[in-house]
Symmetry: C2
Subunit: 193 residues, 2 copies
DNA sequence: ACTACTTTTAGTATCAGGTAATAATTTGGT
DNA sequence: ACCAAATTATTACCTGATACTAAAAGTAGT
């Protein structure tokens, strides 16, 4: 039970190592040897055991992830995945609530993400060069939780068409439960060249 | 003017090289030698001249950038920077519209970003464990353009306090021009342990 | 054609931050 | 004291570079 000074038992070290790397993914094995006061081989065996890749791999994975995110944001300018779209008529989009969309305490989705999905779908269904939200009347009917898939359905009001403004009603569901509804007034410019 | 087959003049190569790396930041110098049919030293001299760092540096910069973004999103759970906050009374936040917040065609801000700033400020001024948006009535008064700073001011309606719901009015300005106004109804749970 | 100059290529030494594999040593427990 | 697990040491090798020196090739100008 002597144990060299400043050392942790293996299981504890494994936990703290995983933690440390999560906190600071840019740390090298060598810096870790100093933190834990063990040899570099031990650190490497530990990483192996925990399935944690080397520094360069970690960094690369992060970069690839963020690169993909940026790309996909540029590709579809809509929040959520549009699965159906009939211009000037209706549209459907799906959006799943991940960790980054919820309050960390309660795991309940922030309202503006649900709004964003509905708002960008309302814009998407309007077949115009420039379409902007003029106003909106919205209700959050029940809270959406982490992991839930929101299905937003937008309908363009017939009687509102061919004008400077269009009315779009959006209903968002989780399963068959209504969680959000909103009426959006969309400005449309007749800039169709 | 003979020039070996499949070669570009230097200036053109420099432009295309910069372009290629921007399109695919994960490309190595060696892969580039094949694309441009020149030696690896030439590629490296070119990168030098263009001030483009090596693959590993590029990847690291991307990872650091995304890491900082994630961190800052976790640190302040509010969209925009809160510059003043009097709980249950009022609050002010500032949010600048960058490239990622505007439509690429028109450079006009997407409505949901302006909403997000207002919504998260409305939540922040409510001094409660759990506060959620129940409904909102909003108007976009004029469009916000790339680079403009939005100053959102939130006021909690006095008569709405001490209830299950609170009413928060938010006015967003660019300079002294009103660009957005909204009335938010916020659910508050009395879960004050 | 000869010179001056730029561009390109080659080659060597060195680096960080590892992997992989094998062997030796230390430690803890009984 | 003995055994197995844990740790450390050692060596060879890898990728994707930098830094530097030197030589070769191409490009004009006169």
């Amino acid at each position: 039970m002597v144990m060299r000074i400043g050392r942790l038992p293996k299981q504890k070290r494994l936990l703290e190592l995983a933690n440390e790397i999560e906190q600071n993914p840019f740390i090298t094995d060598e810096q870790l040897t100093k933190k834990f006061n063990v040899s570099i081989q031990t650190i490497r065996l530990d990483r192996m055991e925990l399935g944690i890749p080397e520094l360069r791999e970690r960094i690369k994975l992060m970069a690839e992830k963020s690169y993909d995110q940026v790309r996909s944001l540029q590709i579809d300018e809509v929040i959520g995945e549009v699965v159906d779209l009939q211009l000037d008529k209706s549209g459907i989009s799906i959006f799943e609530m991940n960790e980054e969309h919820v309050f960390s305490k309660t795991k309940i989705a922030r309202g503006h993400h649900i709004f964003s999905q509905a708002n960008s779908l309302a814009i998407a269904v309007i077949d115009d060069e420039v379409a902007l939200t003029a106003s909106a009347d919205i209700r959050f009917i029940r809270s959406v939780k982490l992991g839930e898939k929101c299905i937003a359905k937008a309908y363009v009001r017939k009687d509102s068409l061919n004008h400077e403004k269009a009315n779009v009603d959006v209903f968002t569901y989780v399963g068959n439960e209504l969680v959000f509804e909103g009426n959006f007034v969309i400005f449309r410019s007749e800039l169709k060249i």
